[in-house]
Amino acid sequence: MINFDNVSKVYGNDSIALDHVDLTIDPGEFVFLVGASGSGKSTMVRLILKELEPSSGTITVNGVRLSSIPHRAVPRHRRAIGCVFQDFKLLPNKTAAENVAYAMEVTGQKRRAIRVKVPQILDLVGLGEQADKYPGQLSGGEQQRVSIARAFVGQPPILIADEPTGNLDPDTSVGIMQLLHRINRIGTTVLVATHDREMVDVMRKRVVALKDGRVVRDMVRGGYANEV
């Protein structure tokens, strides 16, 4: 589903963000990407989204080499990847429902389909009652649920979450993780970049640990700090 083959990323001249990374994520997997700040987690996420280009190596997503995607086809590539961010990245002038609907409008779906789908997905993330509130009127956890609903509404084969619980308290984080887990069980490949130690330990999922741009550990049912 996602494949990194000997990928390096160097910022500027000498700041190495990723150092010869090999990683394969199969369809339907739930993978935690862990590591301290600056270990290269966000760089990997941005490379997968084709926000950045690797300095060397090849990245394949959904069977397509990213280097072969022209600029104008990048939007279509991104629509196949649901994205959740630490800071939610919701449009402030749109209600929860409109934010979710925007992701569907982007793909040119019919208004009728949007009207049916949006309430369903908001119910799924537990925000059926808050559909008409603006991001500013919602709590952090609720905003992150909207963002997950938006990421998932197009039913992308891959969902990537970059520090989804970074701004949330532990109780709220559990709810978000359960939601991601549920989305994974439907068959979506989920990749979560995080340094939320407790969460990783509780979930017992595959854990890929990065340190200074290298993969230092890859365990099928790992915890955050398992000794190698």
């Binding site: 104008r72 939007p75 991104r78 994205c83 992701a103």
Partner: protein, 292 residues
């Protein structure tokens, strides 16, 4: 992908409502620029028209020798009428010349008392099609045997020169102003879009194509340009009508004319300029923030 005009229009309308202050700024800037542009346009139209009017009044007087025979007069007149630079030829006989003289000095009859009709020579009054041609016409007249010529050569040359300067100056000012307004308006639009660059980034991350993000912004620019320019253009045309009427009533010897300005043309031109600037300004400004 299907082009969803309804969605884009709703988006544009909503953005303008939410960013009302920015929209008002853009509309006002457009209106002021188009207003000044329109005033410049009308000013130069009126000046050019006035200069043309004054030029029409330039005349050359060619005197006949004393007691010139009838045939000579007719022949000369026909010849002069045949010059390509000449608009109109009037024959002033000796008697008419004296009458005019008497009229001019009607207050002091002692000046013309006892004057013989033959004292003042008969002449041709020649109106030129274009004031710049007076030298050529004078040359032709001399080669056709006229000796006494009376024409305001220096005044004509001056007028011609000044006309050229004024017209070119006005045109240069108009172009400069056009450039200035493009910069000013696109700057106003850029500021309003800069305030929303985060939104643009999010749209792109959700998978919106460049044109999908851009279209509502461009529609917004179009509407702002249209509103601002229409207001200004109507104001310009209305102000022009009032100005022309005022001059005609108050300073009747200035040959100003509403015919100097093609109202419809000015309206369409000014609105088109406003719309074009609005569309171009927003198009170019959004482009800078689309590289995500």
């Amino acid at each position: 992908m299907r082009f969803n005009l309804g969605f884009f229009l709703r988006e544009a309308a909503k953005n303008m409502r939410l960013n009302a202050l920015m929209s008002i700024t853009a509309v006002t800037t457009t209106a002021v620029c188009v207003l000044i542009l329109g005033v410049g346009l009308l000013f130069s139209a009126h000046v050019e028209s006035l200069i043309r009017q004054v030029g029409k009044d330039v005349a050359i007087t060619a005197f006949f020798p004393e007691n010139a025979p009838r045939e000579q007069v007719d022949e000369a007149r026909a010849k002069v009428e045949g010059y390509p630079e000449v608009a109109e030829v009037t024959y002033i006989s000796e008697a008419e010349a004296l009458n005019r003289f008497k009229e001019t000095f009607s207050e002091q009859p002692n000046i013309y008392e006892g004057m013989d009709p033959g004292v003042l020579p008969a002449s041709l009054e020649i109106r030129l099609a274009e004031p710049g041609a007076s030298d050529t016409v004078a040359e032709r007249l001399r080669s056709d045997g006229f000796e006494g010529l009376n024409y305001p050569q220096q005044a004509i040359n001056r007028l011609d020169q000044v006309t050229g300067y004024v017209v070119w100056g006005l045109r240069a000012a108009t172009v400069l102003f056009l450039v200035a307004s493009v910069l000013l308006i696109s700057n106003a639009i850029r500021i309003s879009i800069f305030a929303r660059r985060k939104e643009i980034e999010v749209m792109k991350l959700v998978g919106a194509s460049d044109s999908f993000v851009r279209t509502p912004f461009v529609l917004e620019g179009l509407v702002q340009g249209l509103v601002g320019a229409t207001l200004a253009a109507l104001l310009v045309v209305w102000g022009n009508a009032i100005f022309v009427e005022w001059v005609q009533n108050q300073i009747p010897f200035i040959p100003i004319s509403s015919a100097a300005v093609n109202t419809l043309f000015v309206l369409v031109l000014l609105i088109a300029v406003g719309v074009l600037i609005g569309v171009l300004g927003s198009f170019l400004s959004v482009r800078r923030f689309l590289r995500v």
